[in-house]
Amino acid sequence: MRPASPPPPVYAFGYRRPPESGNAINGAGEAHRSRARQVFHSSSGDPIAWKALDDFFSLINPWGVVKHVLFNTWQLRRSDGPVAPRRREVPDPAAMAREVKALARELGADVVGVAEVGEDALYEGRNPGLRFAIVIGRAMDRAEMVHAPQARAAAEVMRSYRRLARVAIRLAERIRGWGWPARAYGNPNSTDILLIPLAVRAGLGELGKHGSMIGVEHGSNFRLAAVLTDLPLALDAPVDVGVDDVCSVCRRCVDDCPPRAIFEEKQLVRGERKWYVDFDKCIPYFVKTYGCAICIEVCPWSEPGRGPALSERVLAVRSARAR
């Protein structure tokens, strides 16, 4: 899928006094490891450098998008709550993880994995105080997402977050009912955790060239949420499905990105060389188009049914080369 005629990266909005570069805040070029810092979306009320543009973004979004944000806000009042006084014993964390994953799928998650909450997944100054993350993902309606970068796709993004948040809320409620603390993270702008590092560690996919997750089943056409808990769970391992092999030669998202925000090579970001998107180029276009999403939809992995075959072929090629 290639967008028919995306609007040009020309903007009728801007900063009179530009804030610090988002790339600098994100730690681009920094050789030492450190936690991520808030830069754009923020739900905590903490001061963020790009707040004026973030506020502008929230108010120019069409009602079809905003209504899902409102509904999500309302349901997220139940993201946390009382924990049952009697605790269910967990003699086998692997069996518990299987049960939790089955429950998450039953509630509506398409993919689910378990990871330990590490430093790389926490924003600076944040500590939810819970050890495990049950990361869940839900595919977006491709028929709607092919309309990216238009409001119709933006509405589907927020609709997906809202549906996924409902799954996370119910899962967290169930775990609290078992006597274990659990908190649902169904707000995409959470200021505590970074969902992508957690999802990578939970084996849901790999980081792609466009800075988003790529999973075998849904490519990048899905959204993430999480439940943080102390319920003892067996951890999943990161997967290697061949994303790096493809991204290192594929230029699809690079070529189709109107503001040319996607780097062709991995960048050094907070002490780690990884795929990274130029924040200062991406975000104005993201704002103008209510969330853009071109890169995740043009990604070959996002084409329905293509991922498993692509992964198999790429891994076979790699294996043949290694012989």
């Binding site: 009179r16 004026a52 506020d55 502008f56 108010l59 946390d80």
Partner: protein, 69 residues
């Protein structure tokens, strides 16, 4: 026992009423403040001018209801 400190000692009714109040403020912000902003922004777009988000931009964040008091 609650999962996090933020959930402590507040009845569901109080929690829900507080959130409804904040959501009402958010709706006001979107339709009234945002309506003015969107009109001004479209005017700038038509005239080839720039809408300065740090000078004339909004003051309310759509996620204000989720912020901790």
């Amino acid at each position: 026992m609650h999962t996090l400190d933020s959930a402590r000692g507040e009845s569901r009714l109080v929690r829900d009423l507080k959130l409804l109040g904040r959501m009402a403020a958010m709706l006001y912000g979107y339709f009234v403040v945002g309506g003015r902003l969107r009109r001004e922004y479209r005017r700038c777009e038509r005239r080839g001018q720039t809408f300065w988000v740090d000078e004339t931009g909004p003051t309310r964040h759509r996620e204000e209801p989720l912020r901790h008091p």
